[in-house]
């Protein structure tokens, strides 16, 4: 199953649900019996019954012994909320191989949704943005939520430019409930500005995870000759030399990645660089590590 985590293989599968299912099941089956990530009915705690709670979770054995009503809670049943913020700007269209950055982001988001809503019965929502808020699926555990999320992912075609500050202001209203916020983008902006825009989400008590999606050609561009490059977002054309791409560009890009990760972590958030030619299990592992830490 592990090979189905390879993005090039996933690109040949039609339907995000199938992709997500393939990825998650492949990932889970690869976990064996890891003590860190439990999805089974592992006991977590007892909680006092309050009127309105579901009687199905009452531990009747304890009631028989102590004549008190307690709800038995398991790790897998803790209430969490996942909101994925997906950057759908034009720069996400870029690719140097079979999978675009947007596709890779979709696969990652779909896998997270599948993991959350199908396997853990948690609420999941989606916000698609570029320089504006483009689509919003409110987090929910309702029947059919996964299909709504996947449909929204399908609709999310890259266009326009990225602007983090403006749409995140709107997110504040939408993210009142605490939970996980996964921000998937290529983060072509000033790291300071990005972190500043995302910090309020953290202040609201959310666990914020940055998935930095980049194509290998963006990290290590290889040019054979001078050529004209056109910015996908601004349409600006620039003639560049192989020498510059090999040395100065790489240095700048490495500095940008490093600065962003430092700033993100300094702000109490998590950062993960995802290369579109590598399997998706890194993204899932990072998410579960974060979730484990939260519980």
């Amino acid at each position: 199953m592990q090979r189905f985590l390879n993005p090039d293989v996933l690109a040949g599968i039609s339907g995000l649900e199938l992709i997500a299912k393939t990825v998650v099941q492949g990932f889970v089956s690869g976990l064996h019996r890891s003590p860190n990530f439990g999805f089974s009915q592992e006991f977590a705690e007892y909680q006092s019954y309050t009127p309105g709670d579901d009687l199905r979770y009452v531990d009747w054995n304890v009631y028989a012994r102590s004549d008190r009503l307690y709800l038995k809670r398991y790790r897998g049943e803790t209430n969490t909320l996942l909101t994925v913020l997906l950057d759908a700007s034009n720069s996400m269209k870029y690719t140097s191989h079979a999978v675009t950055k947007m596709d890779y982001a979709r696969y990652a988001a779909a896998s997270l949704f599948y993991l959350t809503s199908q396997m853990q019965r948690d609420a999941a929502g989606l916000i698609v943005f570029d320089d504006e808020l483009r689509d919003y699926i409110r987090p929910s555990t309702r029947q059919g939520q996964l299909h709504r999320l996947l449909a929204a992912l399908d609709r999310a075609e890259p266009r326009a430019r990225t602007d983090f500050a403006k749409p995140i202001l709107h997110f504040q209203d939408m993210l009142r409930r605490r939970g996980f916020v996964v921000l998937i983008s290529d983060f072509y902006d000033d790291p300071e500005k990005i972190v500043r825009a995302a910090e309020p989400m953290r202040f609201h008590g959310n666990e914020v995870l940055f998935f930095h999606v980049l194509d290998p050609q963006e990290l290590r561009p290889k040019l054979r000759e001078p050529m004209t490059l056109v910015d996908l977002e601004t349409d600006e054309a620039l003639e560049v030399t192989p020498d510059y791409a090999q040395h100065e560009y790489r240095a700048k890009m490495d500095a940008h990645v490093k600065l962003l990760s430092e700033k993100v972590r300094a702000a109490g958030m998590e950062y993960k660089l995802l290369q579109t030619d590598l399997p998706l299990d890194d993204a899932l592992r990072e998410f579960l590590t974060l979730r484990q830490g939260r519980l």
Binding site: S91, M92, K93, Y94, K101, D186, Y188, D215, E218, L223, R224, E225, P226, M227, T228, L229, V230, D231, L232, E233, T234, E236, A237, L238, E239, V240, T241, D243, Y244, A245, E248, Y249, K252, M253, H256
Partner: protein, 673 residues
């Protein structure tokens, strides 16, 4: 500096093509999308500079290539001082090593004079040594190395061939076309008259060749030679064999010469020939006692002149048992056999016995080449089918058949073995004309001798046959073919469309009848092609088309085998390059021997006239004036010196450089795309 063909400069218009293409390519720039140019900086100046530099280099190479090509076609030249050109010349030393150079010390004189020329040459002169044989042999490449030249000169040995000067002129013309420097041709020869070609134009030399003659003989000494020997190649009855020899004297006074017939190294007969002054005498030996098999024979004279090598004439004789000839006739026909047998027996050289068989007794006969030399079908009304099939196979395997059609065979629908359809028969005796005579005769046909005497033969009856693809050797005056030949497989069929008797024609009563039968018999039996003597440089046929992979064997006069293993299995001909006896084993398995003699024209030591030599060497006449007109050194002017080949060299270099650069560029483009 100038241009010999300036109109080719119009080709310079083609220079616009690479300029146009490079301009187009400069404007072609495919943009590549990228997610963000946030971390890129504009470095256009350096990149375009880099690209332009490479483009300009490629463009300039292409322009240079075209320009040089146009220039080369325009044939540029520079004017160089004539003295400089004359100083850098090529000396061709042609040493005559033909048979006549064996006389006296001619060849040794020629070699010493050639060595003197090598010693006296200028320091920048290059020298090439040639040997003038039946072909011109190039002994060295142009060189300044005196040791090489001396070795080449010393290696020239007297040959047995006959040469004419036109072959030398052809080679010199060819060298003159490829060498731009002046050429000095030194000819070391006895200037034999027989070496002059029929036309003086054939020995004309190009303008850049000056001829210097080095005659090694001042006069023509008296020379006696065995000019010709007439002897049979095969002998059946040694008593009947005759040997005739013609003794010639060139520039000689009347003299008596002793002529000896030498068989296998032993003199068996001697005659005296009275050779008139500058004339010829014939002597005859009336028997040739030779043992069975091949025998080496010679006719020698005691001349004691300056060219003793031509005092002997070699020939080989094979003594065999007489061969059988199958003569098939109608049972009632006895005349044709009588005339045919009489003619064949009368022929001194034909070693045949006639075996006459009536046609009603031949059904079971299966003739083979080992049994019969050839087969005669004389006026057969009908031929038994099995016999005809056997005969056809006999011919296909290389046998010969002579078919005659008289009054009986004329009633058959077609000619047996020959296969031609009989159209009709003509009985001239019943017509008013009573007879017709021969209208056309091919004198080159082997059966035909003294063609002019055929006209006296009267034909009273003849059959018209559809010749098809047969060769017609003779026709009657009414165009009826009378003698035809058709090749079937490896053999041949000769058709005589009249009878072999004196009823249908009076051929058997004419003196020309015996030579016809004799020559046709020899032609059909294959002995015609065998001759006991040949001339140097003639060719021997070693195999037929059918005998492709069979090995042959040639043994030269020294007893060596000159053919390599591969040549022995593939060579179809062999050139007899030396005088002496050659032994052969042909592809057919037959052994043969030939005596090879030098061309007797070499024995006439008369020299080319002084006027002709002066005309040839340009010291007189119009050619001398022409030579003087084009001789730049004599005029004291500059001479054009073509430089197009240098330019072509540059073209090649530019083409290689362009190929390398464009290959790199295109390779980069391909990888980039």
């Amino acid at each position: 500096m100038g241009l010999l063909a300036p109109w080719f400069l119009a080709g310079a218009l083609a220079l616009g093509l690479p300029v146009y293409l490079h301009m187009l390519r400069r404007h072609k720039n495919t943009p590549h999308p990228f997610s963000s140019l946030m971390f890129f900086e504009r470095r256009t100046q350096s990149s375009i500079k880099h690209r332009r530099l490479r483009y300009l280099l490629l463009l300039s190479l292409r322009l240079a290539l075209l320009l040089l090509l146009v220039l080369a076609f325009a044939n540029p030249f520079i004017n160089r001082p004539a003295a400089a050109l004359a100083g850098d010349k090529l000396l061709l030393l042609a040493i005559d090593d033909t048979f006549s150079m064996r006389a006296g010390t001619r060849l040794a004189d020629a070699r010493s004079q050639a060595r003197a020329v090598v010693d006296a040459r200028g320091p920048s002169d290059r020298v090439q040594v040639l040997a003038l044989d039946s072909t011109v042999r190039i002994l060295t490449q142009p060189t300044r190395d005196a040791g090489t030249l001396r070795a080449a000169i010393d290696s020239v040995q007297p040959g047995d061939a006959h040469a004419t000067l036109d072959s030398l002129a052809r080679v010199v013309r060819s060298i003159g076309e490829s060498v731009r420097t002046p050429i000095e041709l030194h000819l070391f020869s006895d200037m034999q008259k027989s070496s002059m070609p029929a036309s003086f134009g054939e020995i004309a030399l190009p303008a850049n060749v000056s001829l210097l003659l080095h005659p090694v003989a001042r006069d023509a000494p008296a020379n006696f030679v065995v000019e010709a020997v007439s002897a049979p190649g095969q002998v059946w009855d040694t008593k009947k064999a005759r040997v005739q020899a013609v003794i010639a004297g060139y520039h000689s006074s009347a003299a008596k010469r002793t002529v000896s017939l030498v068989v296998a190294g032993k003199t068996i007969a001697t005659r005296t020939a009275d050779v008139p002054a500058g004339g010829r005498a014939t002597v005859e030996f009336d028997s040739l006692e030779v043992p069975y098999g091949f025998t080496r024979c010679e006719v020698r004279i005691d001349s004691a002149d300056s060219l003793p090598d031509d005092d002997v004439a070699r020939f080989a004789v094979e003594r065999t048992d007489p061969k059988r000839v199958l003569f098939v006739r109608e049972p009632t026909d006895s005349r044709s056999e009588l005339y045919f047998r009489s003619a064949l027996v009368s022929a001194a050289e034909a070693a045949f016995t006639v075996e006459s068989v009536p046609v009603n007794q031949v059904s079971a006969l299966q003739p083979t080449q080992a049994q019969y030399a050839f087969v005669v079908l004389s006026d057969l009304l009908s031929t038994p089918a099995p016999f005809e099939q056997a005969l056809t196979k006999y011919v296909r395997d290389g046998g010969g058949v002579w078919v005659s059609i008289g009054t009986s065979a004329a009633r058959a629908p077609s000619v047996p073995v020959f296969g031609g359809r009989i159209i009709d028969s003509r009985s001239y005796a019943r017509d008013g004309a009573r007879f017709v005579s021969v209208g056309q005769v091919d004198p080159a046909y082997p059966s035909v001798e003294q063609a002019d005497r055929w006209a006296g033969v009267k034909f009273f009856f003849a059959v018209r046959v559809d010749p098809g693809d047969a060769t017609v050797a003779a026709r009657l005056s009414d165009q009826t073919p009378i003698l035809l030949e058709k090749k079937i497989g490896e053999g041949r069929v000769v058709l005589f469309t009249s009878g072999l008797d004196n009823v249908t024609n009076d051929f058997p009563q004419k003196p020309i009848w015996v030579p016809l039968v004799d020559r046709t018999a020899r032609y059909l039996s294959g002995t015609e092609s065998r001759s006991g003597s040949r001339v140097v440089d003639s060719f021997l046929e070693l195999r037929t088309a059918k005998e492709r992979s069979v090995s042959v064997e040639v043994t030269d006069p020294d007893g060596k085998r000159p053919l390599s293993l591969s040549e022995a299995s593939t060579a179809e001909n062999y050139q007899l390059t030396r005088a002496g006896f050659y032994e052969l084993r042909l592809a057919s398995g037959r052994r043969d021997m030939v005596g090879v003699n030098p061309d007797r024209r070499e024995s006439d030591l008369s020299q080319i006239s002084g006027e002709a030599l002066a005309l040839w060497s340009g010291k007189g006449g119009a050619q001398a004036e022409q030579a003087a007109a084009v001789d730049p050194a004599a005029a004291g002017q500059t001479a054009p010196y073509g430089v197009w080949w240098y330019i072509m060299l540059l073209v090649c270099l530019a083409a290689v450089a362009e190929s390398v650069f464009s290959g790199q560029y295109l390779g980069t483009q391909r990888e980039g795309s």
